[in-house]
Symmetry: C2
Subunit: 170 residues, 2 copies
């Protein structure tokens, strides 16, 4: 990418943030989440965690990537979150209609090669075949991570984007 | 960690989600963000992106990790977001008071070793020394990534948790 194009959303975001600042109330919140919890979920645009889970500012760390998968980067973040900032509970939320559901590394790599001329064969996109299975897989990855505190708890849910329901699966 | 303890927040989250579902309005939104934008930011509990940026459900992909750093996992997500789901703009937002600001790998690794008995020396926690510099560094990492579309745009901001202001720095 060149990075020389204008940024279409810059003025929109900065204007929204000015409005936000007008109503901002100073607080004594630190970097440690009040409820000692971390949510791991997908980047999907249809997920507003604060509204879905009834979160308030300061309640929880939120980790989001493609799929809500427990990657090395999520482990880096969870280790920091728990040992340095006091969290002790992890909830993994995957969702119906995910862009990774039914995807394959082969098709995604081919798409990148066709569009850019560059090889993405070193990337495992972590496709999802069954959303309940992927939640269980990723909760297990948190549970067996020896770098997290021994009293860390992990559980997992599936969010249905079609009806707004959240169902615990593990 | 053992994973056998109860999950303190499960009933709270599931009750909140039941309330959310009552007010849920079905929509025709797909996995492709309406505004073709991706926000990369920190897991910090004081950041509610929807309120800060005036986002609506469906507008933007949101990637969050410790620091809002552009890691391999963020690149995986950006490649998927752009080539498979049509985004063409990335905004990186770091913030004042970040848990990674002034941290060092040495101290963090020592803390993990003392607490768990296990070695985290393979983890680069990606400490931040200057929050404007880290935004510029990570926007540049997006801009030079050859796996992203050639018309992808990236820019970056600093959010101040003490006064709610958002300032573009690149």
């Amino acid at each position: 990418m060149s990075g020389t194009e204008p940024a279409p959303s810059a003025s929109w975001f900065l204007q929204a943030a000015e409005q936000f600042q007008v109503g901002f109330e100073p607080n004594a919140l630190s970097a440690s989440p009040v409820r000692h919890i971390v949510v791991v979920t997908c980047m999907d645009a249809r997920l507003d965690l604060f509204r879905l889970l009834g979160l308030q500012i300061g309640d929880a760390h939120i980790l989001r990537n493609a799929g809500g998968r427990v990657t090395d980067d999520v482990i880096r973040s969870l280790v920091l979150s728990s040992h340095a900032l006091g969290t002790r509970e992890v909830v993994v939320i995957h969702h119906t209609g995910c862009g990774l559901l039914g995807a394959t590394n082969e098709r995604l790599r081919s798409k990148v090669r066709d569009a850019t001329g560059h090889c993405a064969d070193h990337i495992d996109f972590l496709p999802i075949h069954d959303v309940k299975e992927s939640v269980c897989h990723d909760v297990a990855a948190v549970q067996r991570c020896e770098l997290l505190p021994c009293d860390m708890v992990a559980w997992g849910c599936v969010y249905d984007v079609t009806d707004g329901s959240l169902t615990r699966v593990v």
